[in-house]
């Protein structure tokens, strides 16, 4: 079975968040709600001497854009009591809003904070890979809007053979037990992906909640 997925080259991402806004526009998301989020992560050690000479070392900063990872083994789907979460033949995982009862089981189960409870509808919502566009041969709106062309999509196996990378990297949660269909190229500034940095995004920036 084919599996669609996202590829994000964090080495070429400036954290412009056009992907978030394009997604919100396409999906008519109200204030606060986000299917896609961008996490800014950075490190820098400073050695400051008595004369004020300030030398940085071990520094990096990069941004990670992530939405639903359309996992091969979606935890959200497994726990949904009403089978409102479906996985298509192309691997896209989506929520059938007509069936969702807003119990939030999927929200707790997802390692990646992808689904959230919309207080407007009291239903769980998340990225559906713009499956209406996919069905017409297109790409998700976030990919089409990417300003540096660092966010791509495609068959995840093809993406993995084309771009060597990692399934997760800081500050994205490490748990890949759901086999997320996502691939990240680490920043050249931090190829070992050690989690020794600081999440510089603010709470509002990476929260999905109706305001």
């Amino acid at each position: 079975m084919a599996q669609l997925g996202f590829y994000h080259n964090t080495n070429e991402c400036v954290g412009c968040k056009a992907c978030i806004i394009a997604c919100k526009d396409k999906n008519d998301l109200p204030l606060g709600e986000k299917f896609r989020k961008v996490y800014d992560y950075a490190k820098c050690d400073w050695d400051v001497d008595a004369n004020g000479v300030s030398v940085p070392s071990n520094y990096y900063s990069y941004s990670v854009s992530m939405a639903c990872n359309h996992c091969a083994s979606p935890a959200c789907m497994a726990v949904c009591p009403v089978e409102a979460i479906m996985k298509r033949d192309d691997g896209i995982v989506y929520i059938n809003g007509d069936l969702c009862i807003g119990c939030s089981s999927c929200i707790t189960a997802c390692p990646f904070d992808a689904p959230y409870l919309s207080t407007n509808s009291n239903k769980s919502k998340k990225c559906d890979f713009c499956m209406d566009y996919i069905d017409e041969g297109g790409v998700p709106q976030c990919v089409a809007a990417c300003s540096t062309r660092c966010l791509s999509c495609g068959d995840i196996d093809e993406l993995r053979s084309k771009h060597k990378g990692v399934e997760t990297l800081p500050p994205i949660p490490e748990d890949v037990s759901t086999s997320p269909s996502v691939l990240f190229t680490p920043s050249r500034l931090h190829p070992n992906c050690e989690a020794d940095g600081v999440l510089t995004s603010t709470e509002e920036e990476i929260t999905s909640a109706t305001i």
Binding site: N9, N11, C13, V14, G15, C16, K17, A18, I21, A22, K24, D25, L31, D40, A42, K43, C44, W46, N51, V53, S54, V55, P56, Y59, Y62, P111, D113, D132, G137, G138, V139, Q141, A144, S147, T148, R149, C150, L151, S152, G154, K164, P170, P171, I172, P173, E174, T185, P186, R188, N192, E194, D196, G197, V198, T200, T202, E203, E204, E205, I206
Partner: protein
């Protein structure tokens, strides 16, 4: 959120073992590959296989429109899918396949928020009047209530009547100098207009003048190099830049300042030949996270000291391009002094310490700029031994400091020591805080450019200086002219009744008695000018009898007005052409929503007032916005290989008739119908095309035949004319020779301070374009714009992420802002994104909106430039009434 943070925390515990299992070695290999091949492995085609935005939409039309942000440094190709006058969706610029040569001009977050921005709850619908203000002056004014009064709706007839009668009364009672027109030229409505067209028509007004973006660069560049263009002519275009092998960037962060397609261009320019990119900046910007190969953190305002030490290293290692200096420059050494020099000092001996006993060694500079001396040596070796081509680039930011003029001198001088002028891939470009890789055209004019709108606005009879013409910056000072009030002094002058005439230290003062403040164009000076601390007091001054503002929202100055007139956005104009940036694209913008409620364009309002005040068509010939914008199409041109320009758009008589406009048919290279359908015309570039720009190539090829416009015809490292001009009419000091000098509110002062010790820089952020769209909550939720502070500084001072702090200046400005401690910012430096709307807590006097200029003090500098990046703050815990972030605050609405 708490859940995610917990997950992030947990995930960091065992990350190392996971990484070992992942294919990291492979990842590194792919990165190395990406650096030297084009297109990169991460191909653009993968993301742009089709036109997804055209799908699943029926019954309407995709239409291009001109972005609503009037002061963005970039302009993208914004499109909207419109059904029955309602925008259903924004486009992604995908009007053609995407490639490096012909990239889609993908919009940024601001552009894609168009429908929220122009139809939001904050948008003004009707003319409004302050309840406790009535015309006629005296007891009906109640100036103390400006900014806190209630609003009432009035009709356009009432508004125009009141404005016309107040203008007449104030002029007849106090004279024309009682009017102060704020604001600057609005490019779309006719360049060159500054101040107020209607006040010009009734006898004139005082206006404001000075430099904003360019800092200390213009006067210095015009004297030392003979030209200044804010990067338009001296930057390379993006294709020429791809030939550079080394790119040095002083204070440049296009990921934030020009956030549409500009970074894609930089990225491709770097990839093409694997250029090394070095940044000099106190902050490791998001631009660097993509482009940076080396980072040299430098304290705000000390780049000049750094450059002196770089010069020292080049000289003592004999790494300067002596041949270039000897042939093209004067003042570098004793053998090449300009004939008009009034001293014998030359640059080389100054750097070696012959005059002041202080060799400008890396150790000398290190104590000022904060870099390790070895890092300075390493940088000097790098630039001195790199075979090039070298692109030596500065934004205006380092020159937006107290002695930004001296930085400008040193920036050019060290650039010339490298000789990186006049050859493909080389450049010394200055002040291009605008999109560097998108400007840069032969002669500085856009590759495709619109013609003029042909409005004939009356000139100001009493006040000459306009920012657009920039007489002082262009060496055209005339003591017999009236220049008006400098930007930095604008509000303080209203309060004090006194302003400074161009003169050393501003020693010549003139009195003013401002009775009426007018801002009838699209700009927000109360947000964008230093000395903003004085704005509220200025608007509330007892003697100010009338304030009128044209606006879309209740901006800071609109909130302090007596009458606010609602204006149209560019999305509502029947035609709206062009924009100052994006040299490769001429955008034909259409009306994508109907004019919002009763809003009108600035031009329509002008003509209504002309009629009411009896201004004849001889003085102010009438023209519709549609005709004016169409005139731009008729005059549109494209640059030819021989340097001439040819018509761009073919417009037939039938087109003119169908569109209902007048003009002469013209024969161009694209039919009007296609021009409309494609949203304009974008140049398809290729390496070697005639659009590539090499600045001052003629001078370099034959300096005798093609001298530059300096006194000597050569580049003047020692510029006597510059020194003399400063002594005549500029506000601070300079030397004929480039010399770093410690300045008030600089690092040298900061290190002696107990409280006012924080060096503030106020950056252009991606969140808004100056003050444009700073009110939009959909953008607040993804960019919160907190005060950025170094992590260890925050720890030492007891500030945690999310704490509210009070930051203040000695002048009295106070702002409240949340702290976000980040690791990749130089200790001692704090960053506040500029453009937030001022919002003064009436009880405490604290600006809880945190406008950057509330804490940028009034200071007279050079040709009226402003030191937005050189102010010292005291920062303490905020203890006032509880605050929440903007996204959860009440919107600014008139309630009508």
């Amino acid at each position: 959120m708490a859940e995610l943070l917990k997950k992030i925390k947990e995930s960091s515990i065992n990350r190392r073992s996971f990484v070992a299992a992942a294919a990291v070695a492979g990842a590194s290999a792919s990165i190395a590959l990406a650096g030297c091949s084009r297109p990169a492995e991460n191909t653009v085609t993968e993301t742009t296989e089709s036109s997804p935005t055209s799908m699943k939409l029926e019954g309407g039309e995709w239409m291009s429109y001109n972005c609503h942000t009037h002061s963005c440094a970039y302009r993208c190709h914004n499109r909207a899918y419109v059904v029955d006058g309602v925008i259903l969706r924004h486009g992604t610029g995908d009007v053609h396949p995407d490639s490096v040569e012909y990239p889609q001009l993908r919009p940024c977050i601001k552009g894609m928020m168009g429908r929220k921005i122009v139809t939001g709850v904050e948008r003004l619908k009707y003319p409004i009047k302050r309840k406790n203000w009535s015309p006629g002056g005296g007891a009906g004014v109640n100036p103390q209530l400006r900014g806190k009064d209630e609003w009432e709706r009035i009709s356009w007839d009432e508004a125009i009547d009141m404005i016309a009668s107040e203008y007449t009364r104030i002029r007849d009672t106090y004279g024309n100098k009682a009017f102060l027109a704020l604001g600057q030229a609005e490019g779309r409505l006719g360049g060159g207009l500054l101040g107020s067209a209607i006040l010009n028509a009734i006898g004139g007004c005082l206006t404001t003048w000075g430099q904003a973006s360019q800092g200390g660069f213009p006067v210095v560049a015009n004297h030392m190099r003979g030209s200044y263009s804010a990067g338009a002519a001296d930057s390379q275009d993006r294709i020429a830049l791809s030939h550079a092998k080394l790119i040095v960037m002083f204070g440049i962060n296009p990921a934030w300042t020009a956030s549409g397609g500009n970074m894609f261009n930089f990225l491709n320019a770097k990839k093409a030949n694997g250029a090394k990119v070095i940044f000099i900046d106190p902050y490791f910007s998001t631009t660097q996270q993509v482009l940076g190969d080396d980072w040299i953190p430098c304290r705000p305002g000390t780049d000049g000291a750094f450059l002196e030490a770089v010069a020292y290293e080049l000289i003592t290692n004999n790494l300067q391009n002596q041949e270039f200096l000897d042939k093209y420059c004067l003042g570098f050494d004793a053998e090449h002094m300009p004939p008009d020099a009034k001293t014998n000092e030359n640059f080389k001996d100054y750097i070696l310490g012959e005059y002041d006993g202080t060799p400008k060694t890396p150790e000398y500079a290190s104590a000022i700029c904060g870099m390790h001396p070895d890092k300075i040596r390493e940088f000097a070796q790098e630039i001195g031994t790199n075979a090039g081509p070298i692109a030596w680039k500065s934004s205006g930011a380092p020159a937006r400091t107290n002695y930004g003029n001296r930085y400008a001198q040193l920036f050019f001088t060290v650039g010339w020591m490298l000789g990186c002028v006049g050859k493909l891939g080389s450049e010394i470009s200055a002040g291009s805080s605008s999109p560097n890789s998108h400007l840069g055209t032969p002669g500085g004019a856009n590759m495709v450019a619109f013609g003029g709108a042909k409005y004939a606005y009356p000139k100001n009879p009493i006040c000459t200086e306009t920012r657009a013409e920039s007489k002082i910056a262009n060496k055209m000072f005339d003591p017999n002219l009236e220049y008006g009030i400098t930007f930095t002094e604008t509000f303080k002058a209203i309060v004090d009744g006194e302003y400074s005439f161009p003169s050393p230290n501003g020693q010549i003062k003139r009195s003013c008695d401002i009775r009426c403040i007018v801002r009838d164009n699209q700009h927000n000076p109360t947000s964008q000018q230093t000395g903003g601390y004085w704005a509220e007091a200025a608007f509330r001054k007892e003697t100010v009898e009338f304030v009128v503002v044209n606006e879309k929202y209740l901006t800071d100055d609109a909130r302090h007005a007596d009458i606010v007139l609602p204006i149209q956005s560019t999305l509502e104009m029947e035609v709206c052409c062009g924009a100052p940036a994006t040299a490769e694209f001429a955008l034909f913008g259409r009306r994508v929503i109907e004019p919002y409620f009763e809003s009108k364009t600035d031009a329509e309002i002008f003509f209504l007032l002309c009629d009411k005040l009896g201004i004849s068509e001889e003085v102010a010939p009438k023209m519709t916005v549609k005709q004016a914008e169409f005139n731009k199409v008729l005059g549109a041109t494209i640059l030819q290989a021989d340097g001439t320009r040819a018509p761009l758009v073919t417009v037939t008589q039938k087109d003119l008739d169908e569109y209902g406009v007048e003009g002469e048919p013209v024969e161009g290279i694209i039919d009007f119908a296609d021009f409309v359908a494609q949203g304009g015309y974008q140049v398809q570039r290729k390496d070697g095309d005639h659009f590539m720009n090499i600045f001052d190539k003629k001078f370099i090829d034959d300096p005798a035949a093609n001298p530059v416009k300096t006194t000597s015809g050569k580049y003047e490292i020692y510029s006597q004319a510059l020194k003399d001009y400063y002594d005549l009419c500029c506000f601070n000091d300079i030397d004929a020779l480039p010399k770093y000098k410690a300045a008030p509110d600089g690092y040298e002062q900061a290190k002696t301070e107990a409280d006012f010790k924080w060096q503030l820089i106020t950056m252009h952020i991606i969140r808004h374009a100056h003050s444009c769209v700073a009110n939009i909550k959909e953008l607040d939720e993804i960019f919160t714009n907190d005060l950025l502070m170094n992590v260890s500084d925050a720890e030492k001072n007891g500030f945690k992420k999310g704490d509210w702090v009070l930051a203040s200046t000695r002048e009295g400005g106070k702002i409240a802002r949340r702290v976000n401690p980040i690791p990749h910012l130089m200790p001692g430096v704090v960053i506040l994104g500029q453009g937030n709307w001022r919002d003064i807590d009436q009880e405490t006097g604290v600006d809880v909106g945190a406008n950057a200029n509330s804490v940028c003090v009034t200071r007279l500098l050079g040709d009226g430039y402003q030191d937005y990046n050189m102010n010292l703050l005291k920062i303490e815990k905020y203890s006032g009434p509880q605050l929440d972030v903007e996204v959860r605050r009440q919107p600014f609405t008139a309630g009508i």
